[in-house]
Symmetry: C2
Subunit: 429 residues, 2 copies
């Protein structure tokens, strides 16, 4: 697998950060080991990174990653090893697993993701079948994924406190690849079986602002460990609630939040001698799939939004209304893959990086959300297994990918702390 | 990495065995998970396999594997993940590790192995330094490995019950890559630090016959699990003690043991309609490095051995005398790599296969020991990560390598049972 062509416009300060991360590699790995000794690893996760040349930071952390079909096939053994380890922790006796995908059965790429994920779990030694929450599927249904693979979805049956399939398939474990944006179905509550990720990881409960609060703590501790300015790896943010985009309720409050955050970024840019124009990303606090996202360079941009923009911001996946947003420091991406703007997405299972890809968008610019129709994906080279090469320059792909893996694992750890903090009942989790 | 060219003269019955293993993959992986829940995984190990087309069996299991330099570099991420997992089990807080290699400092390929192993451990986040038991090394000494890398060996200092280096390096963990053929040095006894593998894994205590007794149990249970004849994966053997090759004491007893085992093989060959001539391997019960090994087709061959043959059999590594041998069913190897006779060697860490290579010998025949001067090594393709491909023929490399990984992990499990059974004191281990 050739390494995709990467280029970085600005490599000055990030090289220093990467050098710091490489030099501290034994301490970093030791620190992660002790963190994972104290905190339960999420079963899986993916992290969107942005690399501006002066800053390398996670901008989103997904606890129900899709896109396993976009990983480099060379990574599969790593994923299988990590999945085996994850299953061992939860339930070493597990023989079978029910995978619950999203309901959008017409997205053949998503179906390909489901097939790829099921394949990894099968290779880890589980009997895997797919149960759907989609009420339209009332009998076993074969769908065809984008790559031509057949994917069989079956209706879920609840017997007492166990989920099963109609023919009596009685799984030991339930894995959600459905982010519960539409709310937590009663079907999934109070199950006897282990359910991963826990229900409160779903977007019915989860908030980006909780995640980034947890990330603040992780980034602070990590930055102290390797003696860096935490701002270099941490985007600032503010949460803003009580909004109604349709009635324009809370608009001024949002503009004030944007203004205040832009000012804080300006202070940092001045301190770090950065000449770019600050921008912020306004996004639904419980949103996903790149929906409900706006890139903003001045507070005026959120005042007097036209109908189209209001519609875009007010509703996210599954038609949920947006009343809470997170205003996040925008991180430029100065990475390109074959001249198109790109951002790395890193995939993890258990405590391991298992691969990643570049999300590439030929029609978007360096300060925009790339998670939008028209994006495509370029698998990272195998070197993202994220092993550093101390003989080489910090900027070589192996070493860059090591840094990417480290920052992504910080976000994964923040996901773990976030789930601990929001756990409604430790016994349910 | 291209897949080495493999050819198999006889593929009939082994295809059936491979088909069985592939079909039972979820059960097999589940079974391994529960076995590793009940038994501690050895830190690392390598297994010599022989594939005769009708039989696929381990013929040797090394608990102090050398040859990490011969692994395909693509495997390194798997090794790092496995090493991380192994360290987590023993001592999640470990920051530093002292690696104790063999004393033969003039073998530059062995030094390359040490450097490769140290690199894997460093990538797992440990500070690794090399301490030597070699009394000739009284100050830090830089040696040059075959690939030009510098390898620094330092004298070990014992302070109280801790091993350290002269400058105060105080490791959390000690890893032996020295198989203790010469006996257990007092320096290593009753240490505070975790020592891996345990002292009784060394050849001062270990016996091949104990290993294969444990393998008998593992093979029997596994064969029942997937409904196969255990003989297909298990070489028969007998132990024979009280020998003195120089004085010819016990020669007749050895001949009788050979005769009896040849007869048992003949019975199996008849039952399985195999037309080859049975042979046995006579080898030192505590031997390693391919020393003290003889391939024998009739009991007369061990009677009246000439001086050269007696010398060869009587002394193994570190000049230890041989008084106990194991007489093992010979397993033909009908695998060839570029027309030379080859046998696979599979490497494992923790519970995972991390790679392997073919040991190839252009001057040896299908019924001989290949672990001898003149051998060379061909890394297996990445597919030995041993993940099956159910869409393809059982004989394709990915599927063949899955079977190799399964049989090797059976031998690793036997290593674990063997260490449990021979543990002199659970608290020391």
């Amino acid at each position: 697998m050739p390494i995709p062509h990467l280029s970085n416009v600005q490599t000055g300060p990030l090289l220093a950060l990467e050098g710091r991360i490489l030099a501290a590699q034994p301490q970093i790995e030791h620190w992660f080991r002790s963190q994972w000794h104290a905190h339960a690893t999420p079963f899986y996760g993916s992290v969107d990174l942005r690399n501006s040349g002066f800053k390398l930071a996670p901008v989103d952390m997904n606890l129900f990653p899709g896109g396993f079909n976009n990983l480099n096939a060379d990574f599969i053994p790593l994923a299988v090893q990590a999945a085996t380890s994850a299953v061992e922790k939860v339930c070493p006796e597990a023989k079978s697993l029910l995978l619950i995908p999203e309901n959008h059965t017409r997205n053949t790429y998503y179906l390909q993701n489901v097939a790829a994920l099921a394949h990894i779990l099968e290779l880890a030694g589980l009997k895997v079948r797919l149960g759907t929450l989609n009420p339209e599927i009332s009998a076993p249904t074969d769908l065809i994924a984008a790559d031509g693979r057949a994917v069989r979805l079956e209706p879920i049956v609840r017997r007492g406190n166990r989920l099963m399939l109609e023919d009596g398939f009685n799984p030991c474990l339930i894995l959600l690849n459905n982010d519960l944006s539409a709310g937590i179905p009663d079907l999934l509550r109070n199950l006897e079986q282990d359910l991963l990720p826990p229900l409160h990881a779903g977007w019915a409960v989860r908030r980006k602002s909780h995640h980034f609060q947890a990330y603040d703590r992780v980034a602070a501790e990590f930055s102290q460990l390797i003696s860096i300015d935490p701002w270099l790896i941490n985007p600032m943010f503010s949460a803003c609630g009580g909004l109604d985009f349709q009635s324009r309720h809370g608009e001024q409050q949002l503009a004030d939040t944007v203004s205040e955050l832009l000012e804080r970024i300006r202070v940092q840019y001045r301190a770090h001698d950065i000449k770019h124009e600050p921008f912020v990303i306004v996004k639904a606090d419980a949103g996903t799939y790149g929906m409900g996202v706006m890139s903003v360079k001045s507070p005026e941009q959120v005042l007097g939004l036209n109908r189209k923009a209001r519609n875009k911001m007010s509703v996210v996946k599954e038609g949920m209304e947006v009343s809470e947003v997170i205003v996040q420091e925008g991180v430029y991406t100065f990475e390109t893959v074959e001249d198109a703007v790109a951002e790395p997405v890193v995939y993890m299972m258990d405590r391991s990086v298992i691969g990643g890809f570049y999300r590439v968008h030929t029609d978007r610019s360096v300060d925009e959300n790339l998670n939008a129709p028209g994006m495509h994906f370029v698998p990272l080279s195998f070197e993202t297994a994220c092993l550093p090469d101390h003989q080489r320059h910090p900027d070589c792909p192996a070493n860059r990918f090591y840094s990417y893996g480290v920052i992504s694992r910080l976000a994964l750890l923040a996901g773990s702390l976030e789930l601990e903090a929001t756990d409604p009942d430790a016994d349910c989790a």
